[in-house]
């Protein structure tokens, strides 16, 4: 890892320079204080301060829906490259996003490697950007408020300058290609960085106790709280759609036109009714309560047992986006009997 400083006024120039590594994608305002990740040409549109975009960066790796295979009548089944997005520079990744990216890597790059994911992943350049939490953020509770790997370059704003952390050879390439933008970090920079870190730590308003959570959850499997949440949940799946680590998908076969068959893949969510239905109509999670519980358990229990850490990064997207106001942190407080 290397550390530099960059003058804040160089940011546009830096972003322009990033375009060499791929399509520049950054948060852009969609209205009413909401943001979306979007390819931009005009760098002044970027809002890296934005805490959350409606859909997380996972859409840059796997489209909500894409064709995997195709077969023309009489021909062979072939792989199609509908999902390939070319080299992308993802500008404005926060610490939690980078942690989420690592979780997606665990899912898609272990055992059988998903080629659709991999092709985009290998061409993804991640440029992080330091943030300040709002009332929905609880990354600190999950230990994802800082990152030490998984990005190429990370900018931490320090007023009139940035502390620039470089964490990959590609990041190093970027710095070396633009020497005029960077200078060595000074002691003052380090001091301010630590000050900012402290300030940031103090600005979290939402927190959740994850001590021994997997086991607590195991004990609370039959708790009535799940029925309560099940009654309230619309099973609209918004929480999964916006979640940076929810990565389930469904496969559909269709014939969009004469003589052409396509096997497409769409994001799916365990909250949808048919998710666990098998032939014969048996549904392993027929009740809404079972499905909601499954989502929480998979994130905080199952994933921990499988990969040693939860698959929730505390970004607060599901809290912000649940129309009926279900709040993970509250749910877990209930589970622990704190509410």
């Amino acid at each position: 890892m290397q550390t530099f400083r960059m003058n804040a006024s160089f940011l546009p120039a830096f972003m322009e320079a990033l375009k060499r590594w791929g399509t520049l994608v950054a948060p852009v305002e969609r209205g009413a204080g909401t943001y979306v990740l979007q390819a931009i040409d005009d760098v002044s549109l970027a809002r890296p301060d934005a805490l959350r975009t409606i859909l997380p960066f996972k859409k840059l790796l796997l489209k909500p829906r894409f064709a995997m295979l195709e077969r023309r009548d009489g021909g062979r089944t072939e792989e199609v490259f509908d999902n390939d997005m070319g080299p992308i520079v993802y500008f404005g990744a926060h610490a939690c996003d980078i942690h989420a990216l690592e979780i997606l890597d665990l899912i898609y790059m272990t055992d059988y490697v998903d080629p659709y994911y991999r092709r985009n992943r290998e061409r993804l350049t991640v440029v992080g950007y330091g943030c300040m939490p709002d009332e929905y953020c609880f990354c600190e509770s999950l230990g994802t408020e800082t990152v030490e790997r998984g990005f190429d370059v990370f900018l931490t704003p320090l007023g009139d300058r940035f502390l620039v952390t470089v964490c990959s050879a590609r990041g190093d390439d970027i710095v070396r290609a633009n020497p005029e933008l960077f200078e060595p970090a000074s002691r003052a920079d380090t001091r301010d960085y630590l000050k900012r870190l402290q300030e940031r730590e103090q600005s979290f308003s939402l927190a959740m106790d994850v001590t021994d959570l997997p086991y607590v959850l195991e004990l609370k499997r039959e708790d009535p709280v799940w029925d309560e949440v099940g009654k309230k949940c619309l099973c609209c799946g918004s929480c999964s759609m916006v979640c940076p680590t929810c990565a389930c998908f469904n496969v559909v076969d269709e014939r969009p036109e004469l003589g052409r068959a396509v096997r497409a893949r769409t994001w799916d969510a365990c909250l949808y009714r048919d998710y666990a239905t098998v032939a014969g109509g048996h549904n392993f999670r027929a009740d809404r309560a079972d499905r909601v519980r499954n989502r929480y358990y998979h994130k905080q229990e199952a994933f921990v047992r499988e990969f040693g850490k939860p698959s929730c990064v505390g970004c607060g997207r599901c809290i912000e986006n649940c129309p009926t106001g279900i709040n993970v942190v509250e749910v877990f407080k209930y589970v622990r009997g704190e509410l």
Binding site: D268, R288, T324
Partner: protein, 264 residues
Amino acid sequence: MAKSKPKVGIFGLTGCAGDQLQILNCEDQLIPLARQMDIVDWVMASSRNDHTCRLDIAFVEGVVATERDLESLKEIRARTKTLVALGTCAVWGGLPAMHNEIPREVLQREVYHSSPLHFLDTVEALPPTHFVPFEITLPGCPIERHEFLRVAHALLAGAMPEFHMLPVCWECKAKENLCRVVYFQEVCAGAMTRGGCGARCPSHAVACAGCRGPLEEPNYDANITMFADRGISWVEIARKMSQFSAPVWIKQGLEKEVRHERRR
């Protein structure tokens, strides 16, 4: 797998003809598609029709609003192997089955937690699915072209079409719209409604009216409560919910409580 061309019929009962029009609106694929089948009975598009032969596939749009509709529906069913209900009217009853009393009933149920629901007996028009079984139901007011094409092409290939049953919210999120409920405190039927329209309405900054009818087991109560909790008046909720398929939602929500008799 080679077969002779399937015999196809396209029928409209009482309705706005929107679904048949959507078939005609598949301009690019219409002629090649028509070549793959033998459309023997389609009054809206042809003046020479065979009203009696056996049909491999038939599409039916509209509601049953007259005795004559019911008779034709039964005849169509009797001569058809794979019957497809086209449009919300045919699947759920749609607007023609809407009734003025419903808002008040919803209100009563929500406010007094009783469910008189006499209105079910006063519904004039009923969906064809109420009278005869259908192999495939394709809702939409009107149907979406791409879905029709998927059904048609699957059937031509001898397969049943596959639909992933997702709420409108799925597509709404996929398009990254601002949620009408979360950001604008509006009554949006998206979470209860079967997707496939590409979240047309929310994508135009208009709340979903539920024109495609409900998903299986929508959480009706939680939706209504959610709107009320957001400070939306019961009158407003009832107004929005009474469009399109609300009668069906109520029936679904209360499935265990109300098992209404067949009308005929």
